[in-house]
């Protein structure tokens, strides 16, 4: 089987969903409403192409003036004025189209592609060309001719279209790929998404993927659960236990949690989830670097909390522990996932505390994919040999009921520790119980738990106390 020659898009994440980039000499339609990001995407591809030694012919019809375009692009990092007129030529063929028709434009494009030795042709204004065409047949002929002559010289073509080219459109049938950009409002948030709607000869990752536009240009975040990594299936299971940092908790679960496992620490606010996480991270070392990936407390507040409780964390600046705080702003779910994976990879993290999964949940525009997202993320993290504690907030302040999402998610987790607050003699008592522990025997007793000097202390079994605890706890 012959390997298909590809041209990198130069856009982070886009090559992944295109199964390796654009096919060299193939033609693609980049479509989307005005403001969706087509111009930025095509210019970014153009400049990255030129930066890697390619040459670009960027052809416009009735669009904004080239100077206006340059002014807009000037704010983006990839734009380089030195390349204009050298590696990248912007030309307008409007007058040729108006005066002499599509056939003349095809001839002009052939000459210009050859003159500039272009290996990438961007044609902005496919719908204007369609307007000038007499029939669907003319449109198909135009695309076939432009594509055919470009392919002949190994030049890849991107046609930009400002509205949706449907599957029935003549253009759609003629090109090798269709990429759609959209910008929709979800609640008060603007949501940019990209979809490969057609991909001839490549197994693109279908469905919607988020992207963002920053001063660096476009970055695409392929859906994490769509990246099937065969290494996950073949990854060896880690042996041994990892201490939680609380000696008598370790004793309840067989000397710590299983290495490489994921433990959910569920409980209402104030029940001690973050404190348990700080205990876990206090055991971070040069051999087992730790990461706090949190959404609620800043590094300063976390350190203050640890100091107040007498939990000794590695000092600030010590590479054994990284405290990473992401505010609950307009986060993109997959972007958070990639940021976490990058931190874990680059710092060779072995102890990870995610505080909490709710930060990811809030970033999810499509909640129905959360379980698959977490499953994909945890698979990638397991592959990196990291042992994970993740907190999950239960809404009910007092009692034992675990909210439904945790039940769904618990199926993909190895272990679950439930922290509760129960009312006893008109005062709140904290308790801890192990709900699930992978491949291990564990103490199923619920214990009283409290904050003391040195952090969390596990006390006597609840059933040894005067008032019995609420007996009902969910199973994972």
């Amino acid at each position: 089987m012959q390997e298909i020659s590809r041209v990198t898009s130069g856009i982070p994440g886009l090559d992944q969903i295109l199964a390796g980039g654009f096919i060299k000499g193939a033609a693609y339609i980049i479509q989307g409403q005005p403001g969706a990001g087509k111009t930025i995407l095509s210019n970014q591809v153009a400049f990255e192409h030129a930066a890697s030694g390619g040459r670009v012919l960027y052809v416009t019809l009735l669009s904004e003036s080239h100077e206006r375009l340059f002014q807009a692009m000037d704010t983006l990092a990839f734009f380089d004025r030195e390349k204009l007129g050298n590696e990248i030529a912007y030309v307008s063929v409007f007058q040729t189209l108006r005066d002499d028709g599509l056939e003349a434009v095809v001839k002009l494009l052939r000459k210009e592609t050859k003159r500039h030795k272009a290996s990438l042709l961007v044609f902005d204004g496919l719908l204007n060309a369609r307007d000038r065409a007499g029939s669907d047949f003319d449109v198909k002929t135009f695309i076939a001719e432009v594509q055919g002559q470009a392919a002949f010289v190994g030049c890849t073509v991107l046609f930009l279209a400002s509205s949706s080219v449907t599957e029935n459109s003549p253009e759609h049938t003629m090109v090798d790929g269709v990429i759609e950009l959209s910008d929709t409002l979800t609640g008060v948030r603007s949501l940019r998404e990209i979809q490969v709607r057609k991909s001839r000869g490549s197994r693109a990752i279908g469905g919607l993927h988020k992207f963002e536009i920053t001063a660096s240009g476009i970055q695409v975040f392929p859906r994490i659960e769509a990246l099937v990594d065969h290494a996950v299936a073949n990854a060896p299971a880690l042996e041994g236990r990892v201490s939680t940092g609380i000696t008598n908790l370790d004793a309840l679960i067989g000397d710590g949690v299983p290495a490489g496992s994921v433990t959910l620490v569920a409980g209402p606010t104030g029940s001690g989830k973050t404190t348990l996480g700080l205990h876990f991270l206090s055991q971070s070392s040069r051999e087992e670097p730790g990461l706090h990936f949190g959404f609620f407390e800043t590094p300063q507040r976390l350190r203050a909390k640890a100091r107040a409780l007498g939990i000794a964390l590695p000092e600030e600046g010590n590479p054994s522990l990284t405290l990473e705080w992401t505010p609950l702003a307009d986060n993109i779910l997959d972007q958070l996932g990639y940021a976490l994976l990058d931190e874990v990879r680059s710092r060779r993290i072995k102890r990870l505390f995610i505080d909490g999964l709710g930060g990811f949940e809030r970033a999810a525009a499509h909640r129905s994919r959360l379980v698959e997202f977490f499953a994909g993320l945890m698979d990638q993290l397991r592959l990196l040999g990291v042992t994970i504690l993740a907190s999950w907030e239960i809404r009910e302040m007092v009692g034992a009921d675990v909210a439904a999402p945790a039940k769904e998610i618990s199926a993909i987790l190895d272990n679950m520790i439930l922290l509760r607050q129960i009312e006893e003699d008109h005062r709140l008592i904290r308790s801890i119980s192990i709900q699930k522990m992978r491949d291990s025997d564990f103490d199923r007793t619920a214990y009283a738990m409290d904050f003391a000097k040195g952090g969390l202390k596990i006390g006597e079994p609840l059933n040894a106390r005067h008032t019995p605890a609420h007996p009902q706890t969910p199973t994972g």
């Binding site: 003036s65 100077e67 004025r81 007129g85 030529a89 912007y90 307008s92 409007f94 040729t96 210009e112």
Partner: protein, 123 residues
């Protein structure tokens, strides 16, 4: 009446500049690229050429090279208006009598036009 040839592939920009120059009383024609301009120059010599840089078929720089290398028209004044390549043009003063970066001020361009089409008039 001075005859000015405006050469720009961006149709709207060429038309707007032509309108401004016509308002000043010049005779103006437009051409969408250097080759069309060169063909027209051979039919009727303009007093002045105002050209863009990046264009299909023949760029503004190539047009200037062609004009300067043809003895019959080699002293024809040329103004370059460019979005991006003003720097290159300024390195070739023998090609261009004036270089303007887009966006430019119309008054400044008109002043240069007036100076170049009426060389005997003190500026």
């Amino acid at each position: 009446m001075a005859f000015i040839l405006v050469v720009d592939d961006e149709f709207l920009l060429a038309m707007m500049l032509a309108d401004i120059l016509e308002d000043e009383g010049y005779k103006v024609e437009t051409a969408p690229n250097g080759q069309v301009a060169l063909d027209r120059i051979k039919e009727e010599q303009p007093t002045l050429i105002i050209t863009d840089f990046m264009m299909p078929i023949m760029t503004g720089l190539e047009l200037a090279e062609a004009v300067r290398s043809d003895e019959s028209i080699s002293d024809m004044p040329i103004i370059l208006v460019s979005g991006a390549r003003g720097g290159i043009a300024r390195e070739r003063p023998e090609y261009f009598q004036a270089v303007f970066d887009k966006p430019y001020k119309n008054e400044a361009l008109l002043a240069a036009v007036e100076r170049l089409v009426s060389p005997t008039r003190p500026s």
